[in-house]
């Protein structure tokens, strides 16, 4: 099946069939995804795996209700069954609106250019990179006891058609390289993690990059071998650039997603225009960063991605919408309607979310901190959008004493509240960086970028074991 050349007449007929008994918006989402994953552990490339999944979803909206059906059968019978299924579910009534004619297919191939399509590269070549990573990790220190090196690429082609007449094709290639390294000294075991990825092709990784990523992970693990248990208590916390952005993503970003707002389940509900952060804080969600890991030309509802300002000089300026929540709120969609695959209903999701850089340096911030906690790399975290309360594990952390980074600390978590910590940001550096991750929400994982420059939170609770 070729998604790009799919029978447009059948798409139109499917949309009309879905609307036959009511509803006010219908959509067909076709997907063809090819993936390859290589994983090396214990010095050995394990069961190499790859495959292809094709499928179709039909979605019908009726007011605030969503009816959704999907199937792996991308043919007339499959689409008809899915359309019948959603039409049968809507309360019997008058037929929905006429389906606007689907015009020419829109695409925007130039947004995330792929220089070297991974599908054209021999698997053996990808295997070489994984081996190079393993070699570099083990060469980094005699204390490295395990390295897990992963390479993955996917090509996802989607065709989205809806009753408004939109017909969008998006050809998305993503490539990622991951290193997780374990170091051991006596009874102490520590892990380090590093990754590089983007909406780009095989040009993203070469031997040198693979080695650098693996070495960085190995160094993180080794440094933490000399760590002491983190202290417990409230203190200034300096969040490093890159991985530190995970905190903004979890603690604040999820509360800006319009489904949480619509249900009153966000601390940002009803706060548009109000001060929600220190005045030095501006923040964005940007799904259109060229080749960004969280980027794609269109979202999974066929809306072009964009840069959305969510906080300007400390004031709340925007939420992140999919079509459904934008309709309800009378706001334009922001290109944040995303889904993991055709098996998932699109919901508002972040793309690349970040706090904009400031004008001091990271060194200035450390020097200005007599005693505090430096979180170099976060392990991930969880948040309750309703209360804004969050917890983060710190993968790599240090004590700051007399304006200098000193002892590595392990087992630390950062505990706090989203609005509270944004209000307490008192210094932001200019060393902006973005890291890649997979964000989970409602059982759906999507690629996201998280970013920030080094910044300081005047006071935050550190939970440690020391």
């Amino acid at each position: 099946m070729d998604v790009a050349a799919f029978d447009i007449g059948l798409l139109h007929a499917t949309i009309a069939r879905a609307l036959r008994r009511g509803g006010d918006f219908a959509e067909v989402f076709l997907e063809d995804r090819e993936s390859l994953g290589l994983r090396l552990e214990d010095g050995r490339i394990e069961q190499t795996s790859g495959g292809r999944e094709v499928g179709a979803a039909v979605r019908l909206l009726s007011g605030e209700r969503t009816y959704y059906a999907y199937s792996d059968a991308v043919d007339e019978a499959g689409l008809t069954a899915a359309a019948e299924s959603v039409a049968a579910a809507v309360s019997a009534g008058a037929a929905g609106p006429e389906v606007v004619d689907l015009g020419a297919v829109r695409a925007d191939a130039g947004k995330n250019p792929v220089l070297s399509p991974p599908g054209d590269v021999a698997i053996a070549r990808k295997a070489e990179l994984v081996r190079a990573g393993d070699e570099a990790a083990r060469a980094a220190s005699s204390e490295i006891v395990q390295a897990t090196i992963g390479y993955g690429d996917t090509r996802q082609r989607v065709l989205i058609a809806n009753s408004l007449g939109d017909l969008v094709f998006d050809d998305r290639t993503r490539t990622r390289f991951i290193a997780q390294v374990v170091a051991r000294r006596g009874e102490v075991i520590q892990t380090g993690h590093e990754t590089v990825g983007g909406s780009a092709g095989f040009e993203l990784v070469d031997e040198e990059i693979a080695r650098r990523v693996a070495r960085t992970a190995a160094e993180k693990a080794t440094i933490m071998l000399g760590s002491k248990p983190a202290p417990v208590g409230a203190m200034p916390v300096v969040l490093a650039n890159g991985f530190g952005g995970t905190l903004f993503h979890e603690a604040c970003g999820h509360g800006l997603e319009a489904d949480a707002i619509a249900k009153g389940a966000s601390i940002y509900d009803g706060k548009m225009g109000e001060v929600v952060a220190a005045s030095i804080v501006s923040a964005y969600d940007d799904g259109a960063i060229p080749n960004g890991w969280g980027s794609q030309a269109f979202d999974d509802e066929g809306v072009p991605t964009q840069k959305t300002m969510v906080i300007e000089d400390g004031r709340l300026t925007g939420y992140l919408y999919d079509r459904l929540r934008a309709r309800e709120a009378g706001a334009p969609p922001t290109g944040n309607g995303r889904r993991q695959s055709f098996r998932h209903v699109p919901i508002p999701r972040m793309t690349t979310t970040y706090i904009a850089p400031g004008d001091v340096t990271a060194e200035d911030i450390i020097a200005a901190t007599p005693r505090g906690f430096y979180a170099k790399s976060l392990a991930g975290g969880q948040v309750e959008p309703a209360s804004g309360n969050f917890v983060f594990g710190v993968a790599e952390g240090y004590l700051i004493e007399e304006g200098r980074i000193t002892t590595p600390l392990r087992g630390a978590t950062l505990v706090g509240n989203g609005i509270d910590i944004l209000m307490k940001i008192d210094m932001i550096a200019g060393d902006f960086d973005v890291k890649t991750g997979i964000c989970g929400k409602d059982g759906q994982g999507v690629p996201v970028g998280t970013g920030q420059a080094t910044l300081r939170i005047a006071e935050m609770t550190v939970g440690g074991t020391g």
Partner: protein, 446 residues
Amino acid sequence: MFDVIDAVLERAAARGAADVEAYGEQSTSHRIKVYRQEVEQLTAAQRRGVGVRVFSAGAVGHAYTSDLSDGALDDVVQRAIDNAAVSDPDEFAALPAPAGEPADVETFDPRLVAATDAQRIAIALEVEATALAADPRVKTVEDTMYVDGDGEVFISSTAGVRGSYRAGQCYAFAYVLAEQDGQVETGYSYSVGRALEELDPAAVGTEATERATRLLGARKCPSMKAPVILDPFVSAAFFGVLSSALTADAVQKNRSLFAGREGERVAGELLELVDDGTLADGLESAPFDGEGVPSGRTPLITGGVLQGFLYDTYTARKAGRASTGNGLRGGYSGLPGVRPTNLVVAGPATPLAEIVAGTERGVLVTDAVGIHSGANPISGEFSVGISGVLIEGGAFTTPVREVTLAGDIVGMLTGIRALGDDARWVPGGSILTPSVVIDGMAIGGT
């Protein structure tokens, strides 16, 4: 589906692959969300696909497809062969041989598929209505869901493994927000079963609301070293993380803190921990695992002493023993990996009220955030954020939140000194556990 996977084996043979396993899956599922007593989302789904493993001189390649056309089956076989060509050979990697009769466990209740959308919707509506009515401080029920799945799996290999079974399950879930004096707290609850008739929607709604409202007015408590009671939800989350260290995969790859400790005391002596894939009411039960190996019952910790680990075919060969039937797959696109089936935490039970009455100062933990990010299954150290209720002088006093609980897993297991009488199944990993009482935990607050 047997015709499809047999076709895969034939095509692989035609291409010279001798050791091949094909795994097929087809399923239907429903997911219904309600909000403010209206259907918010209704999803009906069909899923099918095949996965192929090719073993070539100890090197393994895997490929999968959801397209079952002739061309796609040719393609998936070729991909698996190509992938095997880049994997490194391993003397212990081999096609699983037939390993005996499937376990005798019923995993499908025909009442599940006799249900109508109207009945499914009614369950979700009752969950939400009960949650809303249970307390005036309920702000909203953010998520109310009914979900079911009915799936058949098929496996066939050139080694002679062949089998299929059908499994069905459903659950109801609620996530409640309660508010008082501008403070929002959350609570959730589940009910799981093999048919709608086994679900208790009213209990889900009531409990989700109770769990949210009991935290209203919560604040930080002072830092202390004190006993904690992990309720079954929190206990299940901890044992879920811990279980990854009890797989032979983690042990053989130097990633387990339990490596080399078989026969040693690793937990309070009353603790029993068993993996059991044959329990009638365990939702992860199955006649056989993702490699066709019969499911079994594997004691992990008995009387506080570490008994052994979980194995799939590969790790078992490496250890010179038999698979425990724990080579589980996450669907047709996934490779088998060593994972628990149903985990059962057991031991002598003490009435919960008695435990609380006997606690001079401690915390009942009803929610823990960050277990997956704040716990390191390799080193065993963890530090997580918790909510719960303070116990003072043998009685519940004030709710607490934004405090941390820290320690290490072995220390925590060793500190287990009592188990409650409130054992229940917690989904998300299928764990049967009561409340667990642990001495001397570090609580970080003000």
